[in-house]
Subunit: 308 residues, 2 copies
Amino acid sequence: MGKKFIISVDLGGTNLRVALLDLRYRIVLKHSFDTRRLLNKNRLIKIIIEAVNNILESQNLNKRNILGVGLGLPGSIDYEKGAVHSLTNIPGWKGVRLGSLLKKKLGIPVFMDNDANLMCLAEYRLGAAGGSRYAVCLTLGTGVGAGVISGGRLYRGANNAAGEVGHIPLNESGRRCNCGGRGCLETYVGNSRILAEARRVFGRRISLEQVSGLARRGNAKALGFWSGVGRHLGIALTGVVNLLNPDVIVIGGGVANAGKALLDEVKKVIRSRAMTVQARHVKVYKARLGSDAGLIGAAVMVRDGARG
Amino acid sequence: MGKKFIISVDLGGTNLRVALLDLRYRIVLKHSFDTRRLLNKNRLIKIIIEAVNNILESQNLNKRNILGVGLGLPGSIDYEKGAVHSLTNIPGWKGVRLGSLLKKKLGIPVFMDNDANLMCLAEYRLGAAGGSRYAVCLTLGTGVGAGVISGGRLYRGANNAAGEVGHIPLNESGRRCNCGGRGCLETYVGNSRILAEARRVFGRRISLEQVSGLARRGNAKALGFWSGVGRHLGIALTGVVNLLNPDVIVIGGGVANAGKALLDEVKKVIRSRAMTVQARHVKVYKARLGSDAGLIGAAVMVRDGARG
């Protein structure tokens, strides 16, 4: 038999990461591939298969050592069917049953879900949401990804498409969103919008890392900027808190590094606007697992799925 | 042994209803009490006990014939603890363990939840949401009550306070809401607000029943009025659809009787604003069980609870 491992695959906007993890979710090794050239379905499948086989060879493992392969994809994924509803910014994937395609070629069980759900699963099992029963986890980046834990499991919804906190409308007549909606949270706190806002506030091109650096050094403009972002986020989360009554909200992704100014404002808004019972109970934490959360969550999914 | 029954108690804004139901949730008899005089805790407990004993006597039943007593209360209720977080418009109930107080005095198992959850449970088991796995049910009245069904059970949240669709913010700078928040859905579609809006539109005092009557006869102003209400509701539900990915949304309560104009607009807004996968899947139905939904749902709760 030999020792068991899990292989996790995390498809991001610019790269594909493939990792080998042990059953305690420790990353044994990790490879990264540039994906700007492989957005096509067949190339992606090919590179995943090559990467998996490479890992097996280099570690002197065979398929029986691998409990399963877990895929995290950016977009709307049907976990149960192992199929893609759609991938964000990557056309041509609608309805593709990537799970069974890969399983057939690899001869290893394959599980897949969207990256935000997997980040949430990881933070719930090993990170900031540990010990809770009801959790909401957000990843702030180009888009706003999110996952919901209910009674200890991912809340998936009728088409496994639930959890889109980023697409809750914040204002009835807000801007058009990429999702087709209007005034979604993502149109207020997605990276491109807040970068433009930062440029306006500081009167020059400035990166979000720079604004975060300024905030850490106490710069008033930068602090005000982040609390403005936190205000939008806090108002959207007020609705989530009233609706879902979570134990904990976890905020991760690049923007979460803005630190205290952002998180403090989120907490303040929830405390002042959400309903008493829900507001008093909920904790707001920064994510703990960083950029490996997706890989770890994919491994958790495989282990849970392989258990049945 | 003898035949088994359930007693349901439904506390509303102006009256308390107590009913005897059989195990197929048919109402055998029903009594109504004016509650404007009995808002005080001890009086309410006393009248419930008297009503239960009266039913037992009049039907020649004893306690062993009663599977349990199910209470539906207007407010935030902790189902698991059998305790009141707070009652809407009725002060002095915070933390009261009404469940164990009644159980001790009655010698019968007692279960309790908020009225909107029970309406949702009833519509899910016997009404418009039958056959779904994920459902959201709304009751439009003075307030906006709601319940969420997830994987066939009520989604309750960390403090059993989840489901507050009526308190999702629709606009960041909206009006103050009774809940302490701002711009909540309830501030747009609660009865008092839409009554005031109707008065403005028609230039005279007019009841919502009258506006509904006009709409049914094709009056353009009335149709426009209800589609305006439906628009607010549809935008809030867009967020709910994106977040929860339900199979079905059920809309009940007085305002739901506005009929097609309201429901059509809700559907149209969800179709045009919600995310593709979720929007295509969700059905929007009118509630089927009418004003007895709360009594029926209380009986379902007792039967489920008594099963363990």
